[in-house]
Symmetry: C2
Subunit: 238 residues, 2 copies
DNA sequence: TCTTGTCTTGCGGGAATCCGCAAATTTTGC
DNA sequence: GCAAAATTTGCGGATTCCCGCAAGACAAGA
């Protein structure tokens, strides 16, 4: 059994290496890669079916890397090991998990014991192991109260990239007014309307404020923006 | 001699602890804090004059913590030790360094040797030690070509927070048109005008696109946004 | 003093936004 | 198969943004 570790921080990498050795005696080979791109190459060459992957890496982040790995071998078991549980990350991972694939998502702040359990659970028992806190974010993002639907989230990304309503309408094949409707839903869910009494009204540019709030709440993050920008550019130059 | 380490990652914290022990035999006490807030408290209680500080921590980030520490004792020597050299961080640090204070800024990816040199340089020799790469960012942010002036940067933050032109004008005590002028400078420097030929014109909402570009280039980051938001709220409720 | 350059401000208009209203269309539930 | 609910779309307008143009304000320098 082979395990591939994709992690850019040397300290965390060697810690993970130790943890894998300790938790998985049946593992005979541990490979390492120091960024997403190297990880893809390694996974392809070594045919490793078990991957521990950091999200947030320079060069190429974990979500991108996981997506190409899964595209080539959808039965690869991937355990995401991340510092943060930003809704943007959770959503990003959920978007790329293939049908029926087994994966895990644990935070770097979890105990050695729980990391061990996750390693065995995902790699040996083929269970999906999601950290408690991550699970909470997942739930929240589905709740209709504050949670954004996929449609709303996509609009949010387009807006955040700086596209005009017209451009979004064209991209999403919708009428101008529909895009604006979606935007209004966003404004309500993100609660960007300045309540009267809190200074004069009209303090906020709603479009910009919505993005700011999404960033502050980690519904969006830099990684999601970069992903969107790449997609935008590739769609442009088709 | 006392050294305070403020770092939320346990692995990095113990690594730093070792590095300090090895580089500074004249140091008899090493204290640790696991987030910015605890760091402030520790610094106050222990009167440590030498601090190694991570930027990007939850609870309270390094820039905030450093600012309050320096406000209480401006002669404290602080070595910033960070994963990234985002222009937003570099700018954030530069904004809070007191007159004549000595500090350093090294990346976590530097070698043990250079970390050691930085520790001795800042704490013993009272030199300012700035990593090569960080220095590069500093220079670039000053170059008039793409670099934003402080005035432009402040407008950028206000826009990113979602304020309207009118609100910014009021906040900054400028006329509406002056704010819009500053915005136009921003648009030019961030190069948000879609060149003709690249699809139909009017793809971009300039205001939003400027912020998106700033985020993608790391001129802005989530930390800077949070700082801005806090200032905004405190200014509101005065 | 006069010039030159930078910064600020006002005016005006074209374009984009935000959004209420209502009809048309699709989806959902039974 | 049909009615209720949700979504999409068009229209019109108030507001805001974006920006060219030009007139003051201010500082530096010859």
């Amino acid at each position: 059994m082979k395990v591939l570790i994709v992690e850019d921080d040397p300290l965390h990498r060697s810690y993970l290496h130790e943890a894998v050795r300790a938790a998985l005696p049946e593992c005979d080979t541990v490979l390492e890669a120091e960024n997403g791109h190297a990880g893809e190459v390694q996974a392809r060459q070594s045919r490793a079916e078990h991957v521990v992957m950091d999200l947030q890496m320079s060069e190429r982040n974990g979500i991108e890397a996981a997506r190409t790995i899964w595209r080539e071998r959808p039965d690869t078991k991937i355990l995401f090991w991340s510092n943060y549980s930003d809704e943007a990350y959770v959503r990003g991972v959920a978007r790329i998990v293939p049908e029926g694939a087994t994966y895990g998502y644990v935070l770097k702040s979890t105990s050695d014991e729980r990391l061990k359990l996750a390693l065995r659970g995902v790699f040996i028992e083929s269970q999906c192991v999601i950290d408690r806190e991550v699970r909470g974010i997942q739930q929240k993002s589905l709740g209709t109260a504050h949670g954004l639907s996929d449609a709303e989230y996509e609009i949010l990304v387009d807006v955040a990239l700086g596209l005009t309503d017209k451009a979004i309408a064209q991209r999403k094949k919708l009428s101008l007014r529909s895009v604006q409707n979606r935007l209004q839903q966003l404004y309500e869910k993100l609660d960007v309307y300045d309540e009267p009494g809190n200074g004069p009204e009209g303090w906020y540019n709603l479009r910009m404020r919505a993005v700011a709030v999404a960033l502050l709440r980690k519904v969006l993050n830099a990684s999601a923006l970069e992903r969107g920008e790449r997609e935008l550019r590739s769609a442009r130059g088709n």
